[in-house]
């Protein structure tokens, strides 16, 4: 079988050494296997909801929806991020990972893969059709929860690997500022580990004992609070690695420099601080949380606008200065000088464009009165498809086009580049149509996460059908794009001609002073802890002391 052919390891010029490259590729490929399966599930969903096809009796819409959500939002993203960060850490710390980092990396991969298999098998057996939010008191098989816990713990081990690399670098380079990529990788994992502790608590101390029947009831409110404590920083865990590619890799691809080393770091610190103590903005429409606490979380959520604006400024500053250096004149002449035919630039750039309406939609979702119009409507689905599904995913695709050949010692050929451009256009058009229909339909009240329905031919619901067909058509384009992507990535892994592909890491143009405080982790971790206690301490205490009567488990599918 060709797929099983060994990755070539004879080339000397691989920028990331073989042992680290193997680890990274192992993560990236599990990510893309999950992505492929999730893409099939996604297309089927779109067609079912659009009334174009019906599912056979051995499966149901919610089972496929669970598979799509878990594989795309949890498995694809987490694996890709871990793989990408490991490769970049190796690249920026001398080309290899040391023993401890590699061991943590592989141990993490094994745990995560074991967990993934457990979760996927229970979903396939229809014992976990609880969607990727697994809200109690819907009860999945205990193996689903155990699998999820293994996935999280495995990702922590990967994070420890990155921390070990960071400490080693700091020891060997006393007093120096760490490489920007490494710094950002460390920030990402601090965010991730902080964010996943409460969901681990929910799974280990609430869901698993309850689903095994060891305790009769569950505190639903507390489980939701712990889930959303994790659920919002989860989206920043997706976003930060995309930002790493934007801040550090993209400038090099277009032939420019990092705009400002300290501001990039500061943006990451702000994202770390303001992504975690904000979970109630996902719970604005529910009882049992007072409006004052909701408002505190809304305010903290909206402060995230500042690092987002910093990022937008940095990106366009890089684009403009680089374009001008290449001879672009006039107000917008520099724009034409950007490498529009280079998929490594084009795909993330299109992702950035999606992020503009994505961010605006996010402000709408987080605002506590306006949220009543869109809460749990398909608008929300449209929102996270243009943020995660477009901005983040397109950046990951753009990264994969150079990351995979750089790790396998092959070349991104002209043809592969051109196919990548086509794939990007298909993805962008598909996502645009699908999410536009979702946003429009959501404003009219169409719910998210629901099978085909016309609500007994209610005229309002019948009016949604045209949008649902547009949605299904967009989904079809996305599926074609996904197939094309996997074909290109297989080519880049196994068939592309051998050669060197650059692992692009940009540097600042001049030596820049980086304030020492930015690397004093105890300060930042302390601040995160303070904000968490401020935002969650009292409400969680209340939810434990004055809890509603508990809920027994239900299997309603």
């Amino acid at each position: 079988m060709v797929i099983a052919r060994k990755i070539d390891d004879t080339l000397p010029h691989v920028p990331v050494q073989r042992s680290a490259a193997r680890l990274s590729l192992a993560y990236v490929w599990v990510a893309y296997i999950a992505f492929g399966l999730a893409a099939v599930a996604g297309m089927v969903q779109g067609m079912v909801r659009g009334g174009i096809m019906e599912l056979p009796s051995w499966t149901n819409y919610y089972q496929i929806l669970t598979a799509h959500g878990v594989l795309m939002a949890l498995i694809f993203t987490t694996y890709f991020i871990v793989g990408f960060i490991f490769s970049g850490v190796a690249r920026t710390t001398g080309g290899s990972l040391h023993g401890a980092a590699l061991k943590f990396g592989w141990a993490g991969w094994i745990l995560m893969t074991l967990g993934t298999l457990m979760a996927v098998v229970t979903i396939l057996m229809n014992e976990a059709s609880v969607l990727y939010t697994f809200y109690a008191p819907l009860k999945a098989s205990p193996y689903f929860y155990i699998g999820s816990a293994l996935l999280v713990v495995g990702s922590w081990l990967a994070g420890f690997g990155v921390f070990a690399s960071y400490r080693k670098w700091k020891r060997e380079n006393k007093g120096k500022t760490s490489p920007l990529f490494l710094y950002m990788g460390v920030t990402t994992y601090i965010l991730w580990i902080t964010a996943t502790i409460p969901v681990a608590v929910e799974v280990l101390f609430q869901l698993i004992p309850w689903s095994l029947g060891l305790v009769p009831t569950i505190n639903v409110m507390l489980s939701r609070t712990l889930f959303w404590f994790f659920g919002h920083p989860l989206v920043y865990f997706w976003l930060l690695p995309a930002y790493m590619a934007w801040y550090v890799c993209l400038p090099r691809i277009i032939g420019g420099h990092v705009f400002s080393d300290s501001l990039s770091r500061l943006a990451f610190i702000c994202l770390l601080l303001f992504s975690i103590p904000v979970g109630f903005h996902h719970q604005l429409m529910e009882p049992g949380i007072s409006p004052a606490w909701k408002m505190i979380h809304v305010t903290l959520t909206l402060i995230v606008v500042i690092p987002s604006l910093m990022t937008a400024f940095s990106m366009f500053a890089i684009f403009e200065t680089t374009g001008r250096k290449k001879g672009g004149v006039g107000l917008f002449g520099w724009f034409k000088k950007l490498p529009w035919t280079d998929v490594r630039f084009f795909a993330p750039f299109v992702g950035m464009l999606f992020f503009i309406p994505g961010g605006a939609g996010g402000i709408i979702n987080a605002s506590n009165q306006i949220n009543a119009v869109v809460h749990n409507t398909i608008w929300v689905t449209g929102h996270f498809h243009i943020t995660v599904g477009a901005a983040v995913a397109l950046t990951f695709f753009g990264v994969s086009f150079w990351l995979i050949p750089a790790l396998t010692g092959r070349q991104l050929t002209k043809t592969a580049n051109r196919m990548g451009m086509v794939q990007t256009v298909f993805w962008a058009v598909g996502m645009f149509l699908m999410s536009l229909a979702m946003h429009a339909m959501g404003l009219q009240g169409a719910p998210r996460r629901t099978d085909y329905t016309t609500y007994m031919d209610h005229p309002l619901a019948l009016g949604w059908m045209d949008y649902q067909r547009v949605m299904a058509f967009g989904g079809g384009l996305l599926f074609v794009s996904a197939i094309l992507l996997i074909a290109i990535l297989l080519y880049l892994t196994f068939y592309a001609p051998k050669g060197n592909t650059e692992y692009p890491i940009a540097e600042t143009e001049t030596t820049q002073e980086v304030p020492k405080i930015l690397e004093r982790w105890p300060v930042w971790i302390g601040l995160v802890a303070f904000l968490i206690i401020l935002a969650y301490g009292y409400p969680i205490m209340q939810q434990i002391q004055h809890q509603a009567p508990g809920s027994p488990p239900f299997v309603t599918w």
Partner: protein, 155 residues
């Protein structure tokens, strides 16, 4: 740390806009009473069907053209199934669940909240236009989630 002049202006505009926006949200929520539905009442989910007034779900007139609607949301329906009110009526919805989490949404109005077992959710709306309003569940609750709906007729 050096900050470019244009970036300073850009961030000041951004921060100013943000501050104004948050102040407006607070005024809306606390001065004008448009806070999200945050009712604190609790109920035993296993005893919903025997706890008044949810043992007999329905409309109760509480004022001049004002009603309390006590409803339950369960897999996969709402009780009561039929409700009729006159045009201009104000309805205070009180909803709870005897089983899993449900959603309660009336498209084309601002009524949209979660129904959690153990809690009673409530929100108020004045129906100024006649018509047959759709009430639907917008939180996944199981295999029949897509059929979970009812209507409220405004004449």
């Amino acid at each position: 740390m050096h900050l470019h002049r244009y970036e300073k202006i850009w961030l000041m505009l951004g921060a100013g806009g943000l501050a104004l926006f948050i102040v407006l949200l607070c005024v809306n929520a606390f001065a004008m009473g448009m806070a999200p539905p945050s009712n604190m009442e609790m109920i035993d989910p296993e005893k919903v069907t025997e706890t008044p007034p949810f043992d007999k779900p329905g409309l109760k007139q509480v004022g001049d053209n004002e009603y309390d609607a006590y409803m339950t949301a369960f897999a996969f329906g709402f009780a009561p199934t039929k409700m009729e009110i006159p045009v201009g009526a104000t309805v205070n919805f009180h909803v709870t669940s005897p089983d899993v989490i449900h959603g309660f949404q009336i498209p084309e109005t601002n009524i949209n909240f979660m129904v959690l077992p153990g809690h009673i959710s409530s929100a108020t709306h004045t129906f100024d236009e006649p018509g047959e309003y759709l009430i639907l569940c917008n939180e996944y609750c199981g295999a029949g989630h897509q059929v979970m709906a009812t209507t409220i007729i405004v004449k």
